[in-house]
Amino acid sequence: MKRIFLLLSLVLGLWAGSAGAALDPAILKGLASDDFDAKQAAVAGLAAAGDDADAQRLLKALSDDAVAVAGERVVIVAGDQVLDAASGAAIKPAPANSESISLNNSLRQQVDGALAALRLFSTDTAERLAAARLLLADMGDGAVLLPLLDKALAHEQDPVIKDILVRLHAQASLGSPDAAVRLKAVQELGESASPAVKALLLGLLDKQGDDFAEPDEKVRLAAQTAIKAIDGRLAWSDTAGQIFTGISLGSILLLAALGLAITYGVMGVINMAHGELLMVGAYSAYAMQALFRARFPEFVDYYLLAAVPVAFFVAAAVGMAMERTVIRHLYGRPLETLLATWGLSLVLIQAARLLFGAQNVEVANPAWMSGGVQLADNLSLPWNRLVIVAFSGFVLLVVWLMMNKTRLGMFVRAVTQNRPMAGCVGVPTARIDTLAFGIGSGIAGLGGVALSQIANVGPDMGQGYIVDSFMVVVLGGVGQLAGAVWAALGLGIVTKFLEGWAGAVIAKILVLVFIIIFIQKRPQGLFALKGRFVD
């Protein structure tokens, strides 16, 4: 507290006398001193100088570690030249020995904060906005910036920046020694809907020993009211965020389950290696990334587009090979198919381990997929998840078109509904089996590409997905795309809400219990095929 008083008095003093003239010698003297408190006061003084060009140059140099003391003078070292810190004039000849000024962490933070604060006076709106955002993320010692913020507020015309500045101002005023100022700041902060502000206000209520961080009772009460108000505003965006992560999980589940629904629907067997086909897809993306990095480094951001068809065909080829060599020979023995495909999955996992190593590999998001859309302070939709949701919608559309508008799709549906009858009217069921298996596996490969953008890529990444995607198939009913879509999205959203409420493990158990109860009521799934299905 005492230090802040000292700083404030210094800052306010400088504020009055700083206009026009070159830098105050007192500031330079402070910088040259060995005492960090004095240095801090000096930086505060520089910050308060506002849009003064000399002060900005010196701050910038401080941030770049280019300020030194040569004898009595403070100088800026810029390449071969040595400039006088106060006037910016080059010194000739350069002083023989200079000792650079060292900054500690808090000082550096303060310098950066001051630099950002100075950018608030830029003529470029975008730069002002960026500077305001930067300060919002990390303001350092707010009290020092208060005069600057006051000045910036007076100038600012842009409403968005002004809003941020008001909040910054309130945040900075929390450090004020005057309880009335703090009270007003807390009330202003209560208007916000940001988790960061909430944390800030919660900090006021912390107890250190017997004393609260905030000594004044009234301010504490106001903080409590403000926190409640913020909580109310946070609630809806929290819910929206959970729904979005649920949809994003659901779209992954959908990609994993679509393929399984086709193979299970057509052949009545569960492919336990389905998760490993996801893994094959993800490693295809990895391989494409490596290829692009080595051969076409200028197009590396588009490796993902190339990975989509590659993953589809690689996974489809693996799936068709599995069908031809193993699954076909176990026709009519679904439980043994389960075991044999589990064996296949073990072989695939070990093969991936030998080829790519047991460690997870790094698959980077392309530049156009990083970042996100900020909808509210606590609600940002990452681009990679948005792209995945859109991608699974696209895959769904293609699968729907294929199943309903092509001859192959018609055959697949016919075999799903009644295999012997389809065979009787001339559908080549054996070939349809292979093709359907290939398509289902290929879709799993596409799921793997999507997964590589948000999850770790490793040899056993697919193991966890078989149960979840089977649950989707069970819930949705066999042979129904609509069922799979509703089941995947529903399961995704319900899981995310349960996770938020009870933790991941309990959520998993609850979902399982729910599915068991559900099967009691509707053994054929949400969307049952009409017809007779008795074995």
């Binding site: 176990l330 089977f470 399982l512 009691q520």
Partner: protein, 405 residues
């Protein structure tokens, strides 16, 4: 008039079977202890501690395999979650062993070390009474039994079967594994239960204790086989196999498959629990990885390798797979998964009845050849126009190895 159960039990096995059981029991209770305790280590017949522990472990697995065979081979229910019941039995009995450590743990507290670590002051309610040997033994059977009963009741009632049932059991064991991995659930988290010191007051690492545990494992396995044989030979067993082969028809005749399935399912889970209880003191650790999905599926491959629908097959299967696992993981660890994966594929493709089925097939072929040769000889001797006699199918095996799946 119905023959009493005991008579049927004896008759069902036949004199040869009983002789074999007596011989195995004699070796386990007299031969192995003598070879381990009396013979010097340099003696070629000496059985090392390592061998006893390994064999004891495999015997416990064999019990699980037979229990699995009862539901899969005879009931047509493939469980991919039997590791759960095994681990539950292990955990129940493991807690007794934890309590036997007493105040000799690293913290010297009355409660197990991991609870001290969590800063707990007393045992949670569900571990009450675990200082009693008998109570824990009861728990080791009752906990898997009750969970299997409740789960089975709901699953079988709504006629969940085939792959649906298999996947749901897999999900069940996966959820349980996550639950046991948590520290605050009171099951020791990642590390599970370990560092055991005593059992019934005897040192757990003493050779005598090991020998007794080994003998008990053999006894449990023999008892399981005898019980299974009796069940399969009974009317219950006949209805069960009928349900496996044509559930709907059995229902149309007027049986309710629920009772039959639920009984064999619960019994199988309890046997697994007992096997788990015997496994823990011999191996010295129980942790949630026993419930992993892969472990449970491996149980199915033991049964498949040995031969489904025969009670002795799973014993061989468990032995073959686990011995090769030991050998592979020490000699070529990176090829073990390839071997196991190929085992899954090849056995299901080419050996649907396992090694026992292979043995029966070889025997049948030999008999066929002999019969053919005999017929040729008789044709040559006397030109009668009779066809060669039908190849004799060996009793039991081939007949009981029905289609299953």
């Amino acid at each position: 008039m119905r023959t009493p159960a005991s008579v049927r039990l004896v008759a069902g096995l036949g004199p040869k079977g009983w002789l074999a059981i007596a011989a195995v029991a004699l070796v386990a209770w007299v031969g192995v202890p003598l070879a381990h305790l009396m013979l010097p280590e340099s003696h070629p017949l000496h059985v090392s501690t390592y061998a006893i522990t390994l064999l004891g472990k495999i015997l416990c697995y064999a019990v699980v395999a037979v229990a699995m065979d009862l539901i899969w081979g005879f009931g047509g229910i493939l469980s991919l979650g039997h590791g759960l019941f095994f681990a539950l039995g292990g955990y129940s009995f493991g807690m007794y062993l934890m309590r036997q450590i007493g105040r000799d743990g690293s913290y010297g507290a009355a409660i197990p070390d991991f609870m001290v670590f969590l800063d707990w002051k007393e045992l949670p309610w569900y571990w009450a009474g675990t200082d009693s040997f008998l109570w824990c033994l009861l728990l080791a059977m009752a906990v898997p039994g009750v969970i299997a009963f409740i789960f089975g009741y709901f699953a079988f009632r709504s006629r969940i079967k085939g792959v649906y049932f298999s996947i749901i059991t897999q999900a069940l064991t996966y959820a349980a594994m996550l639950f046991f991995f948590r520290n605050e659930t009171g099951f020791g988290g990642n590390n599970g239960f370990t560092d055991f010191k005593r059992i019934l007051g005897y040192s757990i690492t003493a050779p005598e204790t090991r020998v007794v545990l080994f003998g008990l494992s053999v006894t449990l396995l023999l008892a399981t086989i005898v019980l299974g044989k009796a069940l399969i030979a009974s009317k219950f067993g006949k209805v069960l196999t009928a349900i496996r082969d044509a559930e709907n028809r059995v229902m149309f005749i007027g049986y309710n498959p629920l009772h039959y399935k639920l009984f064999i399912w619960t019994l199988s889970a309890m046997l697994c629990g007992l096997a788990g209880a015997l496994y823990v003191p011999q191996v010295g650790i129980i942790n949630p990885s026993e419930m992993s999905v892969a472990n449970s599926i491996e149980i199915a491959i033991w049964v498949a390798v040995g031969g489904r629908g025969t009670l002795i097959g799973p014993v061989f299967g468990a032995g073959i797979v686990n011995l090769s696992k030991t050998w592979f993981t020490t000699s070529f660890p990176e090829y073990w998964l390839f071997f196991l994966g190929l085992l899954f594929i090849l056995v299901t493709l080419y050996l649907p009845q396992g090694v026992v089925g292979l043995w029966a097939r070889l025997k049948a072929r030999k008999a066929e050849k002999a019969a053919l040769a005999e017929a040729r000889a008789s044709v040559a001797a006397a030109p009668r126009a009779t066809a060669a006699p039908e190849a004799k199918i060996p009793n039991g095996t081939a007949a009981t190895v029905a289609k299953g799946a």
